[in-house]
Amino acid sequence: MENKVKREGAVIFSEYNRGDAVKKAISIGREDVLFELKESKLRGRGGAGFPTSTKWMLTAAAKSDKKYVICNADEGEPGTFKDRVLLLEYPELVFDGMVVGGYAIGAKEGIVYLRGEYEYMLKSLQDYLEEMRKDNLLGKDILGKKGFDFDIIIRLGSGAYVCGEETALIESLEGHRGEARNRPPFPVNTGLNGKPTTVNNVETFASVAHIVTKGGSWYSQHGTDKSTGSKLFSVSGDCKKPGVYELPWGTTINELLKIVEADNTKAVQVGGASGLCISKSQFDRQLGYEDLGTGGSIMVFNESRNMLHVLKNFMEFFVEESCGQCTPCRIGNVKLLEGVEMIEKGEYTFNYINKLKELGETMRISSKCGLGQSSPNPFISILENFKEEIFNNGKGGK
């Protein structure tokens, strides 16, 4: 499979040799690793943007005979494919980041939860891990550091979108149905098999490898104040150059559209199915936690696209991919989809559509996990940002 890296930036794709981060980590010690991480102000690259150093410090502080480092490679958000590129072409970044994680929090076991559809790369990843073992980057007394044992295994997912949610991922790893857990307790205390666990995105580990090697302040000089470093964006849709781009945080949508050579753009879905859909008037908004935080999925829609169809597609996705355990997500998404179908047929009242928007607001705050909390996003944002197009379709409501 061809990987379309269209733009290599100064951070993630900067120079790196296998083992660099591990060597550095051992030389500076556990506390300094966590310190550099804090300095870097790195935030989780899966989309939620939780400060990585906080997560690691909590896991490091938790007392337990066993801890786990889990790499969330379940890359299931529609429109994102940057983790695939990292795993296939830069596995040293990801795996070294995990080893550093094991060192920092005191875990001996690392697990990559690999998206089921990525099974084709399993063999090459395992071969790579074998090489690392030969080089003593995995195994016992890593690089001669007494007592520093760490190894990585790879587990395959089975195709459920919800298993990208960290607690559902852990359930799945334990052999159970993929369903999000109640939080608290959080995985940093009660994770896999009830043990302290840190779950981080592929890109987060890759960033860690650079941060530890080059320093937290080196990293934080890139990007913006609250969104340091750079980000990999998976760009797809109506543009001439779809692919993976490393761009500094703070890039505007307009700038991005220019880079990917998109013309006649009507809408950009930022953050995948669960993200926000913005219209032309908002293209000067910045990518970054201050404004448009995202796990990196960017879908471009040009003037030829019917936004109601776009929305319907997203809602169908959530109706199917809800894990089905909590009421707002399981049934709420169906009601929102029904609303879209009503609009499609012109058989709706504004009163009812407004009720559905209220329902969407409830789903955002009452669903059990991030899936249900973000699934109304396209419904709310598309109906708001494209109301002219959607409600003036000649069919009209009552």
């Binding site: 052999g175 355990q325 909590c326 707002p328």
Partner: protein, 638 residues
Amino acid sequence: MKENKETRAPESQKGHTIEKPKSSEGIGSMVSIEINGNKYSVPLGTTILEACKQNQIHIPTLCHHDDLCIAGVCRVCLVEVEGMRTLQASCAYPITHSLKIHTTSPQVRRARRHVIDLLLSEHYGECYACVRNNNCELQSLAKEYGVDQFTFGHVSAPLFEEDKSSYSVVRDMNKCVLCKRCVRTCIDLQEVGVLESIYRGHETRIGTFLDKPLADVICINCGQCINRCPTGALKANDPSDEIWLAIDDPTKHVVIQTAPSPRAAIGEEFDLGPGHSLTGQMNTALRRIGFDKVFDTNFTADLTIMEEGTELIIRLYKALVEGDKQIALPQFTSCSPGWVKYIEHFYPEYLDHVSSAKSPQQMFGALIKTWYSKKEGIDPANIVSVALMPCAAKKYECNRPEMVDSGYKDVDYGLTTRELAQMIKESGIYLPEMGKSHFDDPFGDASGAGLIFGATGGVMEAALRTIIELVTGVKVENVFENMNIVPVRGFEGIRYAELPIEKVGPVPEILKPLVPNWDWLKGATLKVAIAHGTANAKKIMEDIKAGGKFSECHFIEFMACPGGCLGGGGQPIPTSQEIRAKRAEAIYNEDASLPLRKSHENKHVLELYNDFLTDGPCGHISHKLLHTHYTPRGKYIA
């Protein structure tokens, strides 16, 4: 990778039982919180729901059940915690630091109403055509939140066919709200694991392995899922229509035997609080309904003690005196049909440990269509034998193909407490107002030992009352105050007791054909154990497998249901630890008030041995009618 192999429950359901704080004493163990602007102090780790309950602040719930671990899935109990972006499920949120909580803010009220509206939009069925009408948590929630229309629509036709395959439990998934209480009951409480969520997203529903009918999976029929279902999605397989037909048929002689537990709980169906025994009133009502005879299952409970106790003595004698290595010890009780099916599925290799004595229900069935019919001159073909039981599994038990030793189906129908209450109401009777009356002869009123079969530990206590007297010759009341063998009582999931036999007495007449003397028991220590709820039974079985202390026991009582029969799957809904304790209290109080409290002193039982079972306990005739065999089923269904 899985470290805790003991637990099969998903972490999302099981792992999150929030441990009750051990003590509220000491610095730092209390947390100051604010609920709706008022200040409270609660022990660290208390859930928001619990904290509100303690302070008389009502929070609606649906998936929450005190017996079960936390799920946090229905989202009805949402509250607002200041500083948090999302609302929190109060049932699942442990208070570990100072919080400001709002339980009825506008967004909380709107969210709860939305959740209820969503649930109603997918709940098919009309309340007045539902077994749970007026006792349904979804209905109550709709009322509480003033639902007067279906905001998000309502299903107009059933989507799923009812699963009526099981003799015990009927599943109607059209009414299911996916609270997973049944799943948690089956997995956590019972460790059977027949029910789980299947499919995903909007297609999610509760199903069995490969979505097979309930009769074709390893369901033990305990019906605990029914007791915890908030709606009418789960109910017992109700035979009352057939029973009415029999009652209305003048050619049929309809008899009913009544187990000890229903009488201690049926008042709850008539708005009495738990803990009222209505034995005499129920007898009168049953005759008023039209049953020709009303018998006491405690009679065959007494008989069970004679048969099962004798069997134990025979096993001990063969093992200890004759050195027969083939004898299976400890002996397991066989009264609970849920337990019997459990061991048939999960530990079939241990079936020879199960007493061959039938359960009291089935002993009675066999006697009614043989001895009784002959004595009364009634053609057994015209007898309809009904068993009032606290139990769903009894319905299955009476339909076991081997239960036809009388030449007929020994027991025709198993009727639950709930179903009888319905029949009583339908007859225009308000039960608590009925006059009291006794049970009918020739079985008469039975002993308190038979009565306490209804509580966990009761079979053991009844057996010990008899064994102690028969072996030592000492009156049991001289060993245990008021005849109450306290060490085997209580609600701990597993209990263990040792009774040293210091002296022995003469062998009573009835056992003389079996043992020459008791000298071989002198100085021995009788070791017994009790488990209720099959999750606890599993712990004992695993211990026995590993050669642990329970493998040294002589006799173990197993009850499938938490609390024993009084917590059975046919008992009034709701159930809780507190309700079950009250029912137990009612049973023990009634036992204490009875003139006869030992099975071996039941003169009707002794008459039966003189008159009919003439070769004594475990003799030839009794073996033909009162004993049975079991089926090794295994866990894997073809």
